[in-house]
Amino acid sequence: MDKARLLGACFFVASILFLLVLVPQIDANRASGVSGLSFYSVGPSALPYFSGALVLLFSFAVMVSPETVKQTSLDEEDSEITDVAEQSASTWRGGLFAVLMFIYSMSMFTLGFQLASIAFLAVVFAIYRPGSWKIALAVTLLVPFSVDLLLREAFRIPLPSGILF
């Protein structure tokens, strides 16, 4: 299954769950909340049903459309001339960066913005191997400090200081 069809299938399943599980809960909330309206009113679940149905329809169409079937055959041709191992390695690098971002965001409250940012940049540079370690060190120390200073002093917006400090 090619990437677009897989994406279509994921959204198809997600939209079924959305329509069958999540949207009916809105009416349940409404029943316990606002009641006794004496005039005709379109309920809060009308547009969620409508939008969910649109996702269901278009994700199904993407999943089965001939265009994506054609894409599969092209991908197969491409795969003969491209290095499969390199492709999976590159996707792995992107995924790793996303995971690092998630850990960085989680640690911001514990370590504080500056320390978490320094740790994040240090790990990123260690993985992605910059040309000059001196520049990497300067960037690691100066950028978090400058961003924090700019937001704190110029815009009066405090970033998390961390619970350890």
Partner: protein
């Protein structure tokens, strides 16, 4: 005070003017760096603009937008890699010119064409937007709901290569806009008991994730590789790179045609500068008597592409200001920034906040003039920005994404929303699903829901008024025609592609 004078005085205030100056310079630099598009520049600036006065916020975003589109041509000409997708067509003739030792000339032609296109579109904006707004003032809930649903269809159908993928992206944007309190009864929807989600998904982290983080993750997959600068401007012949009056006369007609195409496309929601520049390039090639030089270094090719993509800038503000419907992804970001400032774009903006409208006109004009000055004198320093290695730049931008998402509401949930949007944007980029329809639909869904529910409440659930109203009926016919034409086009392409592929393999 007269709103026009008020806007002018606001713009010439030292702090506002300095902000505009800085944003133009930053826009030129960011636009020049491949991988950092105008969308990223504007998305990253929005969190900061929340804390600025409205005029300062507007000049920041407009300065970045206008200058960033031209900045993209620098790397297109010098690196053979567009800084922004809108400059992709500039490569066809820009890079061959640079290879002939005429890089500075190509950059100056690009600048002249960009300024021409930008000024042309600002005039179009000034002439059209008030008229359109005046017409739209008569709209009630039925017309508004029909127009917004038509926008949903048009951005879905026209914004990407595949109609179905565009429509899927737009539908997902509509679902995401459902999170939060229902606008009419206040019933919580998909908040999972979180008070932070009662206001809905915040717009800033969503756009930062979709545009900036998605691009950084994509660069991460390539290990933040560095493009080598292939052209050295210091070795060029200064005399040969002079732009003469003959050159200007040679490009004047292509610029005019391209600017008209760019402005016409800019008015339609969701299509954007990239498609405009390709169409304009194809048009100038078709309309020229001598086409032998195209693709080998013809200044008309550079001029057409750059005029068209800059002519989109002002024109995209026509539907944004007059109807509250964003013309492209950047104006969607600007529209969101205006809402954050407490200003609601739409026909009433011309009545309630004319000073904001004039500020936008003046900011567009001033940023174009500043771009002309900086672009002319700073071509060489700007070309040096291409040396900045992405391995240092991209992690720093990621750090700004986190800080920018957090400061919008001082809420960690927004950082997680940004991360989720970043991954979604990355997946969309990898599967060729356009991101712009998602963002534009996310923005137009709340007014669509409000108008639709008002109309249906008034008609007690009947759709008959939608079928008898002249505006909604016209839009319905237009939507059916649009869908039919797109479906036919895609079907024809599907049938023609296998034979093309076969020919390609035979070669």
């Amino acid at each position: 005070m007269d709103p026009m004078l008020q806007a002018f005085y606001g713009l010439v205030e030292p702090i506002t003017f300095l902000t505009l100056l800085l944003s133009v310079i930053i826009g030129l630099i960011i636009g020049a760096i491949p991988g950092l598009s105008v969308n990223i520049a504007v998305a990253l600036a929005v969190p900061l603009t929340i804390f600025m006065p409205t005029s300062q916020a507007l000049v920041t975003l407009i300065g970045l937008y206008g200058a960033g589109v031209f900045g993209g041509s620098i790397s297109a000409i010098l690196l053979n890699a567009p800084g922004t997708p809108a400059s992709a067509a500039t490569i066809f003739d820009g890079f061959p010119l640079a290879n002939q030792g005429l890089a500075t000339k190509a950059l100056r032609i690009a600048l002249v064409a960009s300024v021409f296109g930008a000024v042309f579109s600002i005039i179009v904006l000034m002439l059209l937007a008030p008229q359109l707004a005046n017409f739209a003032l008569r709209f009630g809930p039925i017309e508004i709901a029909s127009l917004l649903f038509f926008t949903f269809l048009i951005i879905g159908v026209l914004s990407g290569g595949s109609m179905l993928k565009g429509l899927l992206s737009a539908s997902i944007g509509m679902v995401l806009a459902m999170v939060g309190s229902d606008p009419m009864l206040g019933t919580p929807r998909f908040t999972f008991g979180s008070i932070s989600l009662m206001d809905g998904l915040t717009y800033v982290p969503l756009l930062v994730g979709l545009f900036a983080l998605a691009e950084i993750i994509d660069e991460g997959t390539r290990g933040f590789s560095r493009l080598k600068q292939k052209i050295d401007l210091r070795r060029e012949d200064t005399k040969a790179n002079h732009v003469s009056l003959v050159d200007l006369r040679h490009i004047s007609f292509p610029m005019l045609r391209a600017s008209s195409i760019g402005s016409s496309i800019g008015i339609l929601p969701g299509i954007g500068a990239t498609i405009a520049s390709f169409i304009a390039y194809a048009d100038v090639k078709r309309s020229s008597r001598d086409t032998s030089k195209f693709g080998k270094g013809d200044i008309r090719g550079v001029a057409a592409s750059e005029s068209a993509n800059n002519a989109v800038v002002g024109a995209t503000f026509v539907p944004t200001l007059a109807l509250g419907i964003p013309g492209d992804a950047v104006t969607a970001i600007l529209l969101g920034a205006l809402i954050l400032q407490g200003v609601t774009p739409g026909p009433l903006i011309f009545v309630n906040s004319p000073d904001i409208v004039y500020t936008i006109y003046f900011a567009l004009l001033a940023s174009t003039l500043l771009m002309a000055v900086f672009g002319y004198f700073a071509v060489r320093p700007l070309s040096k920005t291409l040396h900045i290695p992405k391995v240092y730049l991209m992690p720093c931008v990621a750090l700004i994404c986190v800080a920018g998402s957090y400061v919008a509401r001082n809420n960690i949930i927004d950082v997680y929303v940004m991360l989720g949007a970043g991954v979604l944007g990355f997946v969309f980029n990898r599967t060729a699903v356009p991101v712009a329809p998602l963002l534009i639909t996310f923005i137009i869904t709340p007014p669509f829901e409000q108008a639709l529910r008002q109309a249906l409440t008034r008609s007690e659930g009947s759709f008959i008024p939608f079928l008898t109203n002249p505006v909604s009926l016209t839009l319905l016919v237009a939507a059916v025609l649009l869908l039919a034409l797109s479906f036919r086009r895609e079907r024809r392409e599907r049938h023609s592609t296998p034979s093309k592929n076969k020919r390609g393999i035979d070669k």
